[in-house]
């Protein structure tokens, strides 16, 4: 899902994929220090921290939310980040299913 800026995402926005059954969420933002707005990165990082906290409160692994920063063109980075997060999610899913058994 494309958003104008990841700093627009609220904690509730970050949790919404999980409400419909998603196993994980990958947020891909701009490269570090490239934002025109000096506090935007801090804000999104804080909201991600809070969303991870909510997941932890209800017994889900906070690692299910990943935040990546693009290093060059955004589209060129997506595939690589997606694959990294998918591998991590796969490990989390396996461990979670193991615990449930």
């Amino acid at each position: 899902m494309l958003v104008p800026c990841v700093a627009r995402l609220s904690v509730a926005d970050l949790l919404s994929p999980f409400e419909v059954g998603a196993d994980g969420l990958v947020v891909i933002g701009c490269s570090e220090g490239s934002c025109l707005y000096p506090t935007a990165e801090q804000r999104v990082m804080e909201r991600i921290r809070r969303a991870k906290g909510v997941l932890a409160e209800i017994g889900l692994e906070s690692e299910r939310i990943d935040y990546w920063r693009t290093e060059r063109s955004a589209e060129a980075s997506w595939t690589a980040f997606w694959e990294l997060s998918q591998r991590k999610l796969s490990r989390i899913r396996s461990a979670s299913e193991e615990r449930r058994r």
């Binding site: 904690v11 509730a12 909510v54 409160e57 017994g59």
Partner: protein, 234 residues
């Protein structure tokens, strides 16, 4: 304002585990300002509960709403009908304890659970930080103490301080807690009224505080018919 903090989601989930349709109700006044129970927090609590129930494969519907104030009749007047029409089995209030009490009396047969812990009357001393400044004791003596409250801001609520536990402006209970009486002394130095502290304050009558039981204030113009039922505002 009244300062509150959201309860852990697991605790809230425990309250509503047996219900199939739950309303999360925020409050647009104090609970919103202290980031505990406004619209944004309603969405987060609702999302957390939905995810939690989904993981347990329980079909539960979570409704969301936020009223301007949970502690005044006109803002919750429509709530009983809404709750009935929508088949709400339980309400989680993200308002302060006053809101929960008021909703409980308004909704009568529908359970209302607290979604926040109500902490104190305080001020936002910096973004995201609130500090207790009033104990609501019903007999204000701030005119004697430079505007700094010894009841709320001294750990012992002593009237003639500081005590021997005051060190470098901090309280003995915790080095991060300011000594209320050190604040009073510094403030009165600035005002040039420090000599007034030489006067010993007598023991006070705590019946104006909660020690005298639940209190009531009746405004003579707003509620003339109620005069005689409680303490009239001066």
């Amino acid at each position: 304002m009244i300062v509150a903090e959201r309860k852990p989601l697991a605790e809230i989930r425990g309250f509503v585990d047996d219900y199939r349709r739950i309303l999360i109700l925020g409050c647009g006044t104090c609970a919103t300002v202290c980031l505990a129970g406004g619209e944004a927090e309603v969405k987060v609590v609702a999302a957390g509960l939905r995810i939690s129930f989904l993981r347990d494969e329980k079909e539960v519907e979570i409704l969301e709403d936020c009223v301007t104030r949970q502690c005044e009749p006109e803002f919750v007047a429509d709530l009983p009908r809404k709750v009935q029409d929508e088949g709400v089995g339980a309400v989680v209030s993200l308002g302060c304890g006053v809101g929960v009490n008021f909703l409980a009396q308004t909704l009568e047969t529908v359970p209302v659970f607290p979604g926040v812990n109500t902490e104190f009357f305080g001020a936002a001393v910096e973004p995201g930080v609130w500090l207790e400044m009033c104990a609501g004791c019903g007999n204000c003596i701030l005119h004697l103490t430079g505007g700094i409250c010894p009841i709320a801001r001294c750990s012992k609520s002593i009237l003639n301080g500081p005590c021997g536990g005051s060190r470098d402006g901090k309280c003995e209970i915790n080095p991060e807690v300011e000594c209320g009486w050190a604040l009073i002394v510094e403030r009165m130095k600035k005002l040039g009224t420090l000599d007034r502290l030489a006067e010993i304050l007598p023991p006070r009558d705590w019946s104006t505080s909660h020690h005298g039981g639940p209190r009531k204030v009746i405004h003579p113009e707003a509620a003339p018919a109620a005069i005689g039922q409680g303490k009239a505002e001066q």
